[in-house]
Symmetry: C2
């Protein structure tokens, strides 16, 4: 466990399901994460650099939900993980979805 060398599992584009994406985005905390990642653009952000009123393990949990739904991509970089929005995949699968949600999310 805790294997940080191997890449974390991500669904391929065709494995992404709309229900999972919507469920992942339906949580306030996760929506904040996504909003913040969208703001940072394609360089992404170390998970921990996004301030949230939750503990470390809860943050890991939410990032996992987002990753397994296909909303974000995570790659290890040194001791940190760089998270990025999977904008390209989501825009192809559900054009307009992300834009409308991000525009609405205050």
């Amino acid at each position: 466990m805790g294997d940080m060398t191997e890449s974390l599992p991500h669904p391929t584009r065709s494995d992404i399901r709309i229900e999972a994406v919507l469920h992942a985005l339906a949580d306030p905390i996760r929506l904040r994460l996504v909003r913040e990642l969208a703001r940072r653009g394609c360089e992404g952000a170390p998970c921990g650099s996004i301030e949230l009123p939750i503990t470390k393990s809860t943050r890991t949990h939410h990032l996992r939900i987002l990753r397994e739904a296909g909303v974000i991509h995570m790659r290890p970089e040194g001791t940190a993980r760089i998270s990025t929005l999977r904008r390209d995949d989501l825009d192809v699968l559900y054009p307009g979805l992300l834009d409308s949600i991000l525009a609405a999310a205050r």
Copy 2:
């Protein structure tokens, strides 16, 4: 209870929250309902006319979630309820959201 004369509570457009909408749409059964209502267009449909592998009370439950989230509108008509998608409101609040989800929902 069970007052069928008074109109059921619906959120106003400004009361609709994106998290509630996403949560409402994240369920497979509710997605089927929404898909079907979209197919029927503005005339809407009696709730019971949509075939689903669930019981009456579960259907009422799901319709309530959708109504309280602001996704559908229900009006009594005789002994039945006519449900319609709140396309206008949703398209104003989150332009592209519904279209992308409906296009994706097989």
